[in-house]
Amino acid sequence: MKMKRVAATILSGAMAVSLAACGGGDKAGEGAKSAAADANTESAGEGIAEQAQGGVELEVVTTFAGNDGNAQNYKTFYQQWEEKTGNKIEDMSATADDTFKVRVVTDFETGSEPDVLFFFNGSDANSFIEAGKVVSIEDIRAEFPDYASNLDDGRIPVSLVDNKAYAVPVNGIWEAMFVNTEILDAAGVTMPGADYTWDQFTEDCQKIKDAGYTPIAAALGDIPHYWWEFSIFNYNTPENHLTIPESADDEMGKGWVAGMEDIKALYEAGYFPENTLSAKDDETFAMFTEGKAAFLLDGSWKVNGISDSCQSDPEDPSTLDADKLAKFDVTYVPAKDGRKATDLIGGLTSGYYITKKAWDDPEKKAAAVDFISYMTSDEVVPEFAQHGSSALKNVPEVDENVFNELQMKSLKMVAGSTSFTGPVQDLFQGESRVPTFDGMPEIVSGSVDAKDAVQEGLDIYWSSN
């Protein structure tokens, strides 16, 4: 019952923000942004806004840069905030790769951290939270009670360090299974639904293989992450999925081993591409979009990736080949012993932090709070959230006509889900991942035993935690 309530709340938020997010044409998008800016002038706390007026310069680091779909949104909205307040943003955003993560951690280490940071809220943030270099939402609210009050506290992720919330989230993600329906039709396989089981899935894979296609597009030697996550989730429930087993022999650990064995069984049955151990992720993704592979396990960001592949000009949505896009669908990942197929992996994995440095500066404190309040307001968040979820309390009215077919199918799939659980791999970082992530080719090819690999990873994890 409780699960249903949580799922319903998440889904209503996800539906709303997703529907609000994607503008059909440029004019519609601009109109929405302009309206958001106008409305937001009133929505941000008046008290905060008054204190934040004046020529304050804030150093802000985010991941809204490079190819990030929200890079332009971010620029548009921070410039509107600058105009509104007369303050200045010194933007130092960069693509969210390993170099970026190192830069952020090093900046905190050397005392050159920014004033506001949009960053991951998992174990990547542990070092600067442990060092007390960012301010918790609770502490900020002691002085600014309206801070992030438009968001549902229950959906704001807490830190792994002290169980407190630090980062104000904007947009979330989900992971599911994309389907090339043209291949399914050719192989005589029906479109999987909410009650899809692992046995049905393997039967379908065999039919697809017999029809001369590759059943699953995955580069196990490069990105085994999604299969790793769901194969383990298949033996867990949303309630216990984020528990790291102590040993490969305990109840949870056996689930992890069984998950690895399932991937191995799929490999041995020849359901992955022949070059799955040597291919890169973009190669197998191309197999999927070019109609050579039927299933693709991936995240919400791939909705746009697949849509782009159906455009003659990936930069121009007006060149979309709607007939080609109609051949793609998205559904639930087949379930086994634990979770239901409709239990998804997803969540709000990043958010805005205020650093202690800015908080202790009387000039910057109010400006930082106002900036984040603006960027996480009811009007701005839907522009960022797109097909992901958000933590907004108020669900905005949306126009379904602005979405393409795959976006609509995604929304429908999300609406039918029963829960969102964070990825356990976000807790299982660094060296502990190596035996089962980078070691996946050795596991599936049989040169390393799945149980040994799981145990090795757990040993590394527990020796450093």
Partner: protein
């Protein structure tokens, strides 16, 4: 005053100081810090180590038991041999042929040297497309000639060949230009005298060209060996994380993998120390074997 101004060497030190400080700050200090870090416990990239490993030499002990270190050393050795014979050897053959043609030598020089100016990462991406499994150029050509099955050029069987071929191809032009310059310095009179004495072209190469190119070839070999130890960008672009099955690691790519992907920073530091030691030992060895001669 007068000529004394030339005897005062102190101003020279002033001009040398900036470069000296630069080297200290950006080369020698990081190098010695790296040695210290290889013995420390570093939990995350960007964070300095505070306590020593238990025992402090544990990373160095791990070097001897880590199977991937053995793979990377073996592959680096193969890469070194490939660079000596594949790069310098082919460059020598090409230079000798170009040296014997009357017209168009400059065109060949430019053409062979051109790959050097293209970034290694771009070349990696280019060769990725050439060796692609599904729609790669080579597999398409093979299918045009009737080959039914696709070849996975990045599989364990072919991976080293696929990785080393572009590296070899990229640097042939570099050594080609060096050797051609060496050939130009050999006096034409020697060849004319040998021709009058009835020496064939092959004999002229064996008895005149190669001995007089000895020092140039020594330089090329030393550069090739030390270059092979540093190769990183192209192999990493084509075979990240030692794909497939960790069979393509080189010392440089394995160090990067441990530091940036696995985030075992202190072990990455130990690998870096190993690479430096290997580089010093190999370059000394090569210098000893290919000692330059005075003529």
């Amino acid at each position: 005053m007068g000529a004394n101004i030339y005897k005062n060497k102190k101003p020279l030190f002033l001009f040398l100081l900036p470069a000296f400080i630069f080297m200290i700050v950006f080369l020698y200090f990081p190098f010695f810090k790296n040695i210290v870090d290889s013995c420390m416990e570093i939990k995350q990239l960007g964070i300095s180590g505070e306590v020593l490993n238990e025992p402090w030499y544990s990373n160095y002990a791990k070097l001897f038991t880590d199977e991937n270190v053995r793979t990377s050393l073996k592959n680096t050795l193969i890469m070194t041999i490939v660079t000596i014979f594949g790069q310098v050897g082919i460059a020598l053959l090409l230079a000798l042929m170009v040296d014997n043609i009357k017209r168009g030598a400059k065109v060949f020089r430019t053409m062979f040297f051109f790959p050097i100016v293209v970034s290694a990462t771009a070349l990696g991406l280019l060769f990725n497309l050439i060796f692609l499994y599904d729609t790669g150029m080579i597999n398409q050509l093979l299918s045009m000639f009737g080959k039914q099955e696709l070849t996975d050029w990045k599989s364990e069987k072919w991976a080293l060949f696929t990785m080393m071929l572009p590296v070899m191809w990229q640097y042939v032009g570099f050594y080609f230009v060096i050797i051609v310059t060496g050939l130009n310095n050999i006096s034409e009179e020697l060849y004319e005298a040998a021709a009058i004495d009835g020496a064939t072209k092959l004999r002229r190469i064996w008895y005149i060209t190669l001995p007089l190119l000895h020092n140039v070839l020594c330089t090329c070999v030393v550069l090739a060996v030390t270059g092979a130890l540093k190769v990183f960008d192209l192999p990493w672009t084509m075979f990240p994380k030692g794909m497939p099955l960790k069979s393509t690691f080189l010392t440089g790519t394995y160090m990067y993998y441990q530091t940036m992907i696995v985030k075992d920073v202190d072990y990455g530091c130990a690998l870096a120390v190993m690479i430096v030691v290997l580089g010093v030992v190999l370059s000394r060895l090569v210098n000893t074997i290919f000692k330059e001669k005075d003529y």
